[in-house]
Amino acid sequence: MPNQKLVSSGGIYKGKTSMWLYIFHRVTGVALFGYLLLHIISTALILLGPEVYEGAEAIYKNFYFRVAEIGLFGAVLAHAINGLRIITVDLWKKGSDYQKQLNLISLVIFIGVFVPSSYRMVVSYFDLCLEKSSPGTTVTDCIIRPIPDWK
């Protein structure tokens, strides 16, 4: 059955790591679409004036959301780099012969960008939290406090 052979053994994406990356791309894609809708709503509140907009933004200004933001940054970055990898496999003649190398290069680029960026996001959070909060605020306060005491 030549047709069935073609269906079951062909396909650029066959292979352990690349198959997981295919699933990873879908999961991050769906998650990012969900976040996009949330983000459009929270930004749309700006039409209702400074009080409403900044009241909504205050929900995001704690360490729990900082961790979530780092996750969001990682998801966008990983989806983007994996997308570039997919384009390379699709359009480069020898792309499918060098899948392992391309996977490894993608991972190295991701770590190289993600680690310093997320480090900066953590350091900047504590710098600004301690600077803006009332005197006597500790690092622990900045970690556990759900709503900032400044505007």
């Binding site: 269906v7 679409f33 459009i40 400074p50 960026s117």
Partner: protein, 131 residues
């Protein structure tokens, strides 16, 4: 010889007629490349070069004072919604075998996306600073 299909429920390549899927495939590559610049750029600008702790009404008002940032944000809005909608269309198509449920899900997706596109466009165009 009779061919046995083992992949029921998956998208089948169109045999003839519409080349919509080909254009959709191509669109995902082109919009993806642009979104690497727009979306990753947006993340760097808002989260690394600035900090969201500093994000307030005045920050957005100053940003949208120039038409270029409004254009940047609108392009990001339009491309990410289209890219995401097409991605979700493929995911729903691949994973829902019941025709009625699939059609309902896809309709809900298109209505939602269109609604958010209209809302987002309205916000970017209609915003006038109150400070």
């Amino acid at each position: 010889m009779k061919t046995q299909r083992t992949d029921w429920g998956r998208r089948q390549p169109p045999l003839a007629g519409s080349s919509f899927e080909l254009y959709a495939w191509f669109f995902m590559r082109v919009s993806g490349l642009l979104l690497v610049l727009l979306a990753v750029g947006h993340m760097f600008i808002m989260h690394v070069f600035n900090d969201t702790l500093n994000l307030d009404y005045e920050f957005v008002a100053a940003r949208w004072d120039t038409p270029y940032w409004r254009a940047f944000d609108w392009l990001l809005l339009a491309l990410s919604l289209l890219h995401g909608t097409n991605g979700l269309r493929v995911v729903l198509h691949d994973n829902i075998s019941d025709t009625t449920v699939r059609k309902l899900s896809l309709s809900a997706l298109y209505v939602t996306s269109l609604g958010f596109f209209v809302l987002g466009t309205y916000v970017i165009v209609a915003f006038v600073s109150k400070v």
